[in-house]
Amino acid sequence: MDLRLIDKQLWSRSVLLKLRAQEEECLPEIFPGQFVQVRVDGSPTTYLRRPISVYYVDQAKQELWLLVQMVGDGTRTLSETAIGALINVMLPLGRPFSMPENPAAKLMLIGGGVGIAPLLYLGKVLKDNGFQPQFLLGARKASDLTQLDLYEEFGEVYVTTEDGSLGEKGFVTQHSVLANQPDMIYCCGPKPMMMAVARYAKEHDVFCELSLENTMACGLGACLCCVEDTKEGHQCVCQEGPVFNLNQLKW
């Protein structure tokens, strides 16, 4: 569907795109952890769509927010879209994070870099459903962590930075809050960071769901390009994922 870009906010390495459904249309139901496939117009070097995780959804306002990391021409071109222009997206795609069954479960949402994006909407939905999510967000430096105030609306926020410019210095897995073991971990971020979280979860036998970001073409499970080598063989991250339970993975 074509969504209208109603607002955007730029940082040095990422951009927040606020999209709204056109008047005659409605956003479908979207679950945390799902993603959209965005068509990029006007980038001669971009041929395929770009998969972008859902940052936030406001059904009342019919808004979908995407937090896009600028990594190449495609995402940079996307960031230059004019306010008011239409952006074509396929949505919602992929399997979402699962909801906890125990209302008292201690939930830790661990994100790194732009991987913090899907955790905002997850945090909102968890809180809306009566859970108490906590966030543990890591980055190289403070300026890479944008809009922490939004996360704070839905739960406590713990931070690590590699240079110590915000929160505890080091990696997320070194944060003191993890001394107090969570019941469930939801994780998204760069692969080395997710591998470290996975090790922590295994060692402490904690439920852990991770959102993978393999390179994709179709986003629909048709091309079989984005496969992860799971315990049940190659599975499409776009369709069987992007969220996998740690015990599905060979990590």
Binding site: T45, Y47, L48, L220, G221, A222, C223, L224, V227, Q239
Partner: protein, 304 residues
């Protein structure tokens, strides 16, 4: 009212638009986007006699106006297809064709026999670009001898429409097409992917786990069009053209060059509804130009 029907040696299509194997899954993945009753047919994923896990990740690299893939025929095997998938898609309101692949002639034959037993599959597309494990991994489809052997063997056991999908990685695709025709192919589809490669200069590594892979997308269209043109001068059987088709205009170019039908591949990834749009666009073109039947376009290129 344009007559959009085409008949490929016994295989009737309501219009000349098919979706290419490996780019449209089993059709189900595109059910939200495409009204199957508006396209000529779908060609499902490459199917082999045995289950295949395919190649390791990474399998895809974006290139200028195209992409490389190295999926490696991941599929659950012909028996699984027949038992689990076929019942779900058999009643789809369009032609469902199966792309058949193999590593030995025996595998091709066994796979074709299983697919033949499925009533509602009117045709197979034989993928002869697979490496022949008994011939040092050279693809069957790059020599006239190799393609003749596999087409003859399958022809003996397969009695419905036999479409043979040609590799473009050859010196003379016309010679290969003639060999397929002489060996009993009912039609030829072309082009399969061009062999290519991509490198990450910073990491100094190939972008694909297999180093090389298959190039598809708009970038290959000029090569595909040329090969369809060459093959149309060499064979009598119908040609199904593919290679970078992303619009009705592209499709019409292939028809003019000599194709009787076309397949849409990589463009499905960019616009999942493109196949239906192309079918509608071909009809609109015919109306605009006062062409009564889409069949009149085949080979209608003016080259005086």
């Amino acid at each position: 009212m344009v007559d959009t029907r085409v008949n490929l040696k016994g295989l009737s299509l309501r219009n000349p638009v098919l979706t290419a194997s490996g780019t449209f899954g089993y059709g189900e993945e595109f059910a939200d986007f495409v009204d199957f009753s508006k396209i000529g047919g779908i060609i499902v994923k490459g199917t082999t006699i045995h289950h295949r896990e395919g190649n390791p990740y990474p399998r895809m690299a974006e290139t200028p106006s195209g992409m490389l893939n190295a999926v490696g025929l991941q599929n659950k095997g012909a028996a699984y297809f027949a038992e689990k998938i076929y019942p779900r898609i058999a009643d789809m309101d369009t032609n469902v064709l199966v792309n058949v692949s193999g590593s030995t002639i025996e595998d091709y034959v066994a796979c074709a026999e299983i697919i033949q037993s499925l009533d509602k599959i009117p045709a197979i597309e034989l993928n002869v670009s697979c490496p022949n494990v008994k011939q040092g991994g050279m693809a069957f489809g790059v020599t006239t001898d190799g393609i003749s052997k596999v087409v003859e063997a399958v022809r003996k056991v397969y009695h419905k429409h036999l479409m043979v999908k040609l590799s473009p990685n050859v010196t003379s695709i016309a010679d290969i097409a003639k060999a397929a025709e002489a060996s009993g192919a009912d039609s030829v589809s072309l082009i399969n992917t061009l062999m290519g490669m991509a490198i990450d200069a910073e990491k100094r590594r190939p972008k694909l786990s297999t180093v090389t892979g298959g190039l598809s997308g708009a970038c290959v269209k000029p090569v595909a069009l040329r090969m369809v043109w060459q093959v149309s001068k060499a064979v009598q059987i119908p040609i199904i053209g593919l290679g970078g088709i992303s619009s009705a205009t592209d499709a019409i170019e292939f028809l003019l060059a000599g194709a009787s039908a076309i397949e849409i591949g990589t463009a499905n990834f960019i616009d999942p509804a493109i196949s239906q749009k192309v079918a509608a666009g071909i009809e609109a073109y015919c109306e605009r130009h006062g062409i009564a039947s889409v069949r009149e376009l085949t080979g209608a290129l003016i080259t005086d």
